[in-house]
């Protein structure tokens, strides 16, 4: 489908996206006029203090929530609700406990038209292999560790072959060692499968490790404050010294914004 728009060059476009939550005690500007363009194959990380609207933004791009104002375009077309072109990896694994690992990965594939039984099986097994869990295809969800669950969730999100992956602090609940492994995995998969990734995190080092671009968000109203380009060769090691320089730079900027915000509030 071709939509008439000058911005077809971008995979994902946000135009003045605004989200206002109305509560009894007044309204919250979760997002105000957020504009952003992400080109195909880019890895973009979103960092910012808690409550600044990162999840809100991701849910709007996913089509799960409606913005109060503005547009989200994929390949120049406005989105209409959730779609298989944008898969989400939530903060909790959100796997279905009544299905085993393989059936969880098959869930999205079964809803995809034009796929035979055999084909679906092969695709699901391929992605389980990709995240290193082919031996656990028949396991129940409750038999997996937290890190394994996140891997299954990753395989489930990848299986319908979305062009865009939306990840909301997917590794926040994991220990450092498992996380490091998954940093490796996700960079490899991103490179091999040429995905466009929007990745939300609290962890600045993680953002610097994974992203081509790191967007710094500020709260109340939620807006993009600053953008950092990370031009380091891949695969990147979370413990590398060069990475530390970048994350220090972003941390300083974050602190600066936080202090100006508190001064403005005072």
């Amino acid at each position: 489908m071709i939509c008439d728009s000058e911005e077809v060059a971008a995979k994902l476009t946000l135009q003045g996206v605004t989200k206002t939550y109305r509560a009894a005690r007044g309204s919250v500007d979760a997002l105000r006029e957020v504009s952003l363009q992400i080109t195909e194959g880019q890895f973009v990380c979103l960092v910012g203090p808690s409550g600044c609207g990162k999840t809100t933004l991701l849910n709007i791009v996913a089509g799960l929530d409606e913005p109060t104002g503005g547009n989200v375009l994929v390949d120049g077309c406005p989105i209409a609700g959730p779609g298989r072109d944008r898969m989400v990896m939530f903060q909790e694994p959100a796997l279905f406990p009544w299905l085993n690992v393989l059936d969880n990965v098959l869930f999205g594939l079964r809803l995809k038209p034009n796929l035979g039984r055999r084909e679906r099986r092969e695709v699901a097994e391929f992605y389980l292999q990709l995240v290193g869990l082919q031996k656990f295809a028949r396991a129940d969800v409750h038999e997996l560790s937290g890190g394994m669950k996140q891997r299954v969730a990753l395989a489930r999100a990848l299986a319908p072959n979305p062009r865009v992956l939306l990840m909301d602090e997917p590794f926040a609940a994991l220990d450092a060692l498992t996380r490091e492994q998954l940093y490796g995995d996700i960079q490899r998969i991103w490179k091999e499968r040429r995905k466009t990734i929007l990745f939300v995190t609290h962890n600045i080092r993680e953002a610097a490790c994974l992203g081509d671009r790191v967007l710094l968000f500020s709260a109340h109203p939620g807006q993009i404050r600053e953008e950092f380009l990370i031009e380091l060769p891949r695969p990147r090691d979370i413990n590398s010294v060069h990475l530390a320089e970048h994350s220090a730079r972003i941390t300083r900027a974050l602190k600066r914004h936080l202090t100006t915000e508190t001064e403005a509030a005072a």
């Binding site: 996913a62 089509g63 799960l64 609700g81 959730p82 779609g83 298989r84 944008r86 898969m87 989400v88 939530f90 909790e92 959100a94 279905f96 406990p97 009544w98 869930f107 999205g108 809803l111 995809k112 129940d140 969800v141 409750h142 489930r156 319908p160």
Partner: protein
């Protein structure tokens, strides 16, 4: 394990011994306080001449038909109240009200409507079961974490597919808990119905209990009470508990 079994066994043996000892003390007339021997003798006799087996069969037939009808109505209705606000505010409110009504309160109405018939008894059981099942299923569906449906939507699931493949299975542990509660209510209502509705089409355990009182046969009263307890325990331990445990473990609701 064996030590554990021994302790359990000794506990019940001691209980029976205490009962026998109390009976032998002769503080109360055996007419009001039968000894375990007398109750045992009644049970052996009733088993031998088939009264107990017949009564149990009659009772179970009524129980299962009423229970299944109650489930067939209550479970889908619970889904509807959870899904549609209008059903919740109409049928849901009625269910909430009727659920607070002890099932024995249905007996006078059932007698006036249907007379001393099987239908009256079925009616009481169905009324006792339906509302509690409805409310449990409704609560189960409402307790499904929204993240499941959201995740399903991103994968292209919509409407009926989401309900059948996500909401229902996600609510299953609660639905089974509701079925168990419904069973408990069905069992109580049936005993109330059998004690109050005297019909000739079948002599159930409740009737045995009732006639035990009429005949002042305390051994029969206590014996039948024991059988009723035993059936309740068996259904719980064999039918519901293993299911419940399995679901809770697999759904990650228990340790």
């Amino acid at each position: 394990m064996t030590r554990h079994r021994w302790l359990v066994f000794s506990y019940f043996a001691a209980l029976v011994a205490l009962w026998e000892a109390l009976a032998r003390l002769g503080l109360w007339s055996p007419l009001v306080f039968p000894s375990p021997m007398a109750v045992g003798a009644y049970l052996v006799h009733a088993l031998a001449d088939g009264t107990l087996a017949d009564a149990t069969r009659v009772t179970c037939r009524r129980l299962f038909s009423g229970y299944i009808l109650g489930l067939m109505f209550g479970a889908p209705a619970g889904l509807l109240t959870a899904r549609f606000k209008i059903v919740q505010d109409t049928l849901g409110v009625i269910a909430l009200g009727l659920q607070t009504l002890p099932s024995v309160c249905w007996v006078p109405l059932a007698l006036l409507w249907f007379g001393q018939t099987e239908t009256a008894m079925l009616f009481v059981v169905v009324m006792g079961t339906t509302w509690s099942v409805l409310i449990a299923v409704d609560a189960g569906v409402r307790n499904v974490p929204p993240i499941f449906a959201r995740a399903a939507r991103t994968m292209g699931s919509r409407g009926l597919h989401t309900w059948l493949k996500v909401i229902l299975p996600a609510a299953l542990p609660h639905v089974v808990a509701g079925m168990k509660q419904g069973w408990a209510f069905a069992w109580r209502s049936l005993m109330a119905a059998e004690i109050y509705v005297t019909i000739l089409t079948g002599f159930g355990l409740g009737h045995l209990l009732h006639y035990g009182r009429e005949l002042q046969a305390m051994d029969q009263v206590v014996g039948v009470m024991l059988v009723i307890i035993l059936i309740g325990l068996l259904v719980d331990k064999l039918l519901f508990s293993p299911w419940e445990r399995y679901l809770r473990r697999r759904w990650g609701l228990a340790l």
